[in-house]
């Protein structure tokens, strides 16, 4: 996963939710079709795709998808 577009494609295939890069910066409560329950599914998918474990506590504190992407892309 090298770009935010890769990440957003994962969001779409895993959650059935199409989000643009612009929308990814919106807070979760402003994001149409988002449900807090999706977060756990997304984390599991990101971990599967990157092969690395993320700190769930950090992800749970994220305010939007962009922040999750940055956590996932951090090396």
């Amino acid at each position: 996963m090298n770009t935010i577009d890769d990440f957003l494609l994962l969001v779409e295939t895993e959650l059935g939710l199409r989000v643009s890069a612009q929308e990814a910066a919106r807070s979760f409560d402003q994001l149409a079709g988002w449900d807090s329950m999706h977060l756990l599914t997304l984390i599991a998918a990101v971990e599967r795709s990157s092969g690395r474990q993320m700190s769930l506590a950090r992800v749970l504190e994220a305010a939007n998808l962009e922040e999750i992407y940055l956590l996932a892309a951090r090396r």
């Binding site: 779409e12 295939t13 895993e14 959650l15 059935g16 939710l17 199409r18 079709g33 329950m37 999706h38 756990l40 599914t41 599991a44 998918a45 599967r48 700190s55 769930l56 506590a57 749970l60």
Partner: protein, 641 residues
């Protein structure tokens, strides 16, 4: 396997490979076509591995059931509610996918976090307001450890366990009092991160015993309440599934792992399939490479692998499991590309063969394509091919059957026979709520049916046949002891089922307990033997009218005059007990077209048709004579009015 398949394999031919499921689902989702193409979804999900099934489930949770029902009004739908202690959001998509995998449409309702006590305890709760067919109350170890003090001893855990199990018992009683639907509970896994907090082995053993005693009480609730099912999570955890993931448990309060919830959802999917009346009834087996090793036509009866060799032992184990399944009401049949004579000889004379001719309801061995043989078998048994599970070690045959008969559930075996048992049992294809007496004798009854059919071929007219068949029918109020079998008739019968209203055992008990809704049982027998309880009639009396809410007859019993004999008796009974009219209804499904004219053919006049339900009325003035060839024992006393 046979030479034709070998040739097909070397040419790389395969009529239909189940591939591209996830991509196609995503394409349909993007194009907004999932609702329109819903009947295809079942096939696309059929063989998806766990992670992909969960992903597909996410797409499906975005689907509105109303949209699917608008496009495909006949889609079987079900209301499922999920409640419990921890975060259960991971369960919803996998469960949606598992249900869709069986063709069932559902959008499980997820109740509020940790709300199970209120959800189940308060008859006015939002959960009960959804009028669920199935309620999952998911219990996890934190139900207990969230309330254990620090520091703790086994006795502290024992005390909380006792409180919680008592609470669940009370909730189960409340649920049972509601009189509709099923409640699914589960055992609570024991976690090492707690057992290891006790440093001495004696205390650890004591904790283990207390924990298991609590789980035993949860399991035994199944005996106490017919509407409760407790899923034992232990066998699911014996594979490579983790019980819990620490980060998810601590940070997200999701105390059971997603893998465990997925395995649990699979079990629930099969239960839901049974409740929806979509139970598989027949296990059809290939022979060469499936039931025994080697090729009978080449190796001969003495040369096939059945026991006493490495691979022979594996086939022996598979035969043992097939025999075990066949002893519980599942019809086992064989469809093999072979000549019939050596097959019969192998089943009759091979000294180490465990499965014998009598273990099969029917053995078909010839050189016709297998899908044709399966269709013929369905015809012979008077069942739909969608009640079949077909197992074969040939990828070619599996592909061909999948392609030609999409309703058949195909189990693709491979050339490693130790895997056959796992493949057969990994899905609960034949899962039912409970066994009835009927299940134990079903194969015998079907074999008698086949004898009946050969007998029929010797007559010129159906009347002569019926006279010689000497059909005897007993129509009587159903007893409490017969409730499970009556429920089973409503769940298994698709053809002679006027309204296709499925009832679980508690629903039947409920009707038996009410004075104005009698349930009648139809028992039948003939010169070939006793058919047992083969049908049911659900009546309802309002004022001076008697309504037939539903009339059902097992596919083994219709077209012998039994239905006419019973209906005539009912009409006379209505008249004799002061009714001035009898009403009947018909609701069309994909399977019950044969009874569309059942009422008009028997003197009822059509009253109305709202597109889904057709209603009929009989004024009881002129009641047709009962069929001559049927002897009816009428036990409709005043009780059945």
């Amino acid at each position: 396997m046979d030479v034709f398949e070998d040739r097909a394999r070397t040419r790389g031919q395969s009529p239909s490979e189940p591939s591209g499921g996830p991509e196609e689902l995503l394409r349909l989702h993007r194009a907004g076509r999932l609702a329109a193409e819903y009947p295809r979804v079942k096939g696309l999900l059929a063989d998806l591995p766990g992670a992909e099934l969960a992903r597909a489930g996410q797409l499906l949770t975005r689907l509105a059931p109303e949209d699917v029902l608008r496009e495909h009004p006949g889609t079987p739908a079900m209301t499922v509610a999920i409640t419990g202690h921890g975060t259960l959001s991971a369960l919803r998509p996998v469960l949606t996918a598992e249900l869709a995998r069986h063709g069932l449409l559902s959008q499980p309702v997820l109740a509020d976090f940790d709300g199970y006590v209120f959800d189940l305890g308060d008859p006015g709760s939002a959960l009960y307001a959804t009028d669920p067919d199935l309620v999952l109350c998911v219990l996890d170890p934190m139900v207990v450890f969230d309330e254990v003090p620090t520091p703790w001893r086994p006795a502290d855990v024992g005390r909380v366990l006792d409180e919680k199990v008592r609470l669940v018992e009370q909730l189960a009683a409340k649920f049972a009092a509601r009189g509709r639907g099923s409640l699914v509970l589960n055992t609570m896994p024991s976690l090492r991160r707690f057992t290891m907090q006790l440093v001495d082995h004696r205390s650890r053993a004591r904790l283990g015993a207390l924990w298991r005693e609590a789980n035993m009480r949860l399991l035994r609730l199944t005996d106490e309440f017919p509407s409760v099912i407790t899923v034992d999570l232990d066998p699911l955890l014996a594979g490579d599934v983790a019980a819990s993931e620490i980060q998810m448990s601590v940070y997200a309060k999701a105390h059971l792992s997603s893998g465990l919830l997925a395995a649990y959802a699979r079990e629930v999917g099969h239960l839901a399939r049974n409740i929806a009346g979509l139970t598989k009834k027949v296990l059809v087996l290939d022979l060469d490479g499936t039931v025994w090793g080697g090729v009978l036509g080449e190796d001969g009866v003495a040369g096939i692998e059945v026991a006493d060799s490495y691979r022979g032992e594996a086939f022996n184990e598979f035969q043992r499991v097939v025999k075990q399944i066949g002893a519980q009401g599942v019809l086992v049949a064989a469809v093999s590309k072979n000549d019939i004579e050596p097959v019969e000889e192998a089943l009759r004379e091979h000294p180490r063969m465990l499965l014998r001719q009598d273990d099969f309801v029917h053995v078909i061995a010839n050189w016709r394509p297998k899908h044709e043989n399966l269709a013929a078998l369905a015809d012979t048994l008077n069942l739909g091919v969608d009640s079949f599970v077909f197992a074969d070690d040939s990828a070619y045959e599996c592909g061909l059957v999948r392609y030609a008969l999409p309703g058949v559930r195909v189990l693709a075996l491979d050339d490693e026979p130790t895997g056959h048992v796992t493949r057969l049992l990994e899905d609960g294809w034949f899962d039912v709520r409970e066994l009835t007496d009927e299940d134990k004798v079903r194969p015998v009854r079907y074999r008698e049916d086949l004898a009946r059919k050969s007998f029929l071929d010797t007559f010129d007219s159906i009347e002569d046949y019926l006279r010689e068949l000497d059909v005897r029918v007993r129509l009587a109020p159903a007893t409490e002891a017969e409730a499970a079998r009556v429920s089973q008739i409503t769940l298994r019968t698709n053809q002679f089922n006027l309204t296709t209203k499925r009832l679980q055992t508690p629903d039947v008990h409920d009707r038996l307990g009410a004075a104005d809704s009698p349930v009648l049982a139809i028992h039948a027998g003939d010169r070939f033997g006793d058919n047992g309880l083969v049908g049911a009639v659900f009546l309802r009396r309002t004022g001076t009218a008697l309504h037939i809410d539903n009339f059902l007859l097992s596919c083994r019993a219709f077209s012998r005059g039994i239905e006419q004999a019973c209906l005539t008796a009912l009409l006379h009974h209505a008249h004799a007990t002061g009714a001035d009219a009898m009403f009947g209804t018909y609701r069309a499904t994909a399977k019950n077209g044969m009874v569309k004219d059942f009422y008009p053919r028997n003197g009822f006049r059509k009253l109305g048709d709202d597109g889904a339900t057709v209603t009929f009325r009989h004024d009881l003035a002129r009641i047709a004579a009962p069929p001559e060839a049927v002897t009816l024992i009428n036990e409709l006393g005043a009780d059945a009015s």
